[in-house]
């Protein structure tokens, strides 16, 4: 189980229009004591950044209505949000290249396993702790 020695929860933004997937992944994030916000489209995610909200990690699905995940990732990076860790998600197993080209740090095929998520969250916590030192 990922742990945060400094105590502040990891702020996660989950971007997924599929209710089943959003429920499962937000439950998994809760297991790691993450403070999770859910957006149903890339546009909703972008609006949150425009409002000044800050996140430590964005878990972003690829195929969504209005604005898909790839476009959202490109625009988040274009806003200057270079520190936030962005992980692309998709039921398409071969979406690595498109997500990395858009500016994501990693791609994980759905459904994401708990141990994979644990490693990702721990990585975010380590980065946060190193930044605070």
């Amino acid at each position: 189980m990922a742990s945060n020695a400094q105590g502040s929860p990891v702020k996660a933004l989950l971007v997924d229009d599929t209710a089943v997937d959003a429920l499962i992944l937000s439950t998994k994030l809760r297991k790691f004591h993450c403070e999770t916000t859910v957006a149903k489209t890339g546009k909703e995610a972008l609006d949150l950044f425009h409002e000044g909200k800050k996140f430590d990690i964005v878990l972003c699905d690829k195929d969504m209505p209005i604005m898909n995940g790839l476009e959202a990732v490109e625009k988040i990076r274009a806003m200057g949000e270079i520190d936030v860790k962005i992980v692309g998600l998709s039921a398409d197993y071969d979406a690595t290249e498109v997500f990395m080209s858009a500016g994501a740090d990693a791609f994980v095929p759905k459904p994401m396993k708990l141990d994979v998520l644990s490693a990702i969250i721990q990585d975010v916590i380590n980065k946060k702790n190193n930044t605070m030192v």
């Binding site: 599929t18 209710a19 089943v20 499962i24 439950t27 195929d63 039921a91 459904p111 708990l114």
Partner: protein, 223 residues
């Protein structure tokens, strides 16, 4: 234990009556016989039970009463049924390891998590199947839209471990890729059948789970 007059009939009633534990109307004699039966079982299996005072109305709470042996056997039978049922889902290829992962996420803070997730899937998926059917019927064919709809269904099916649904969605996507409308139609019919079977099996499974849940909750509360 020596039989008192009328004990066999009362024992049979004990099996059927003990389902509702909140309010039981007992005569003094009935109460005495039931307590003797439960006392014997308790001495073997559980700590001593609450002994009500001699009154005609007795309020029985699950936490105050241990289970009589007959209800313990019913619970064990139910538990075995649930285990066999779930095993059959895996053996027949309806579910895969992802379903186990969902069960691992279930805890005291979300005790019905798996049922909630499955209910959400069973609520969303008919809409997707209907949209797929409408899109197939349109002219000119929109294979891109069909692919997008089936992609959603494949994703959510895969998330709950519905492997047959997931596989059939992959077949459908391949037909979309080949722009094979007839293949899409046949695949859709199979998807609908798989969906109906999965729905029936999972609803039966959760129905059984709900029957053991109150007892497990009572046991957990005594810990």
């Amino acid at each position: 234990m020596p039989d008192t007059p009328g004990a066999p009939l009362l024992r049979r009633r004990l099996v059927t009556d003990m389902v509702d534990w909140n309010m039981v109307l007992l005569t003094r004699r009935e109460l005495s016989i039931r307590i003797k039966i439960l006392h014997v079982i308790n001495n073997i299996l559980f700590p001593s039970i609450y002994m009500p005072s001699s009154s005609l109305h007795v309020s029985l709470q699950p936490s105050q009463f241990s289970l009589p042996a007959c209800t313990i056997m019913d619970y064990s039978t139910l538990r075995r049924q649930i285990t066999f049922m779930k095993k059959s889902f895996f053996d027949q290829g309806y579910l895969d390891e992802q379903f186990n992962q969902l069960e691992e996420l279930q805890d005291e803070s979300s005790p019905n998590f798996v049922e909630e997730v499955v209910a959400l899937f069973l609520k969303d998926s008919p809409r997707l199947l209907t949209n797929i059917e409408h899109t197939i019927g349109k002219y000119p064919q929109d294979f891109h839209r069909l692919d997008s709809l089936v992609h959603q269904l494949k994703g959510s099916g895969s998330s709950i471990g519905a492997v047959r649904m997931k596989n059939e969605c992959s077949v459908f996507k391949a037909h979309c890729n080949d722009k094979n409308l007839e293949g899409c139609r046949r695949s859709l019919q199979r998807m609908k059948r798989e969906h109906a079977t999965l729905k029936q099996k999972l609803e039966s499974y959760f129905q059984l789970l709900r029957q053991v849940a109150p007892r497990e909750h009572a046991v957990n509360s005594r810990k």
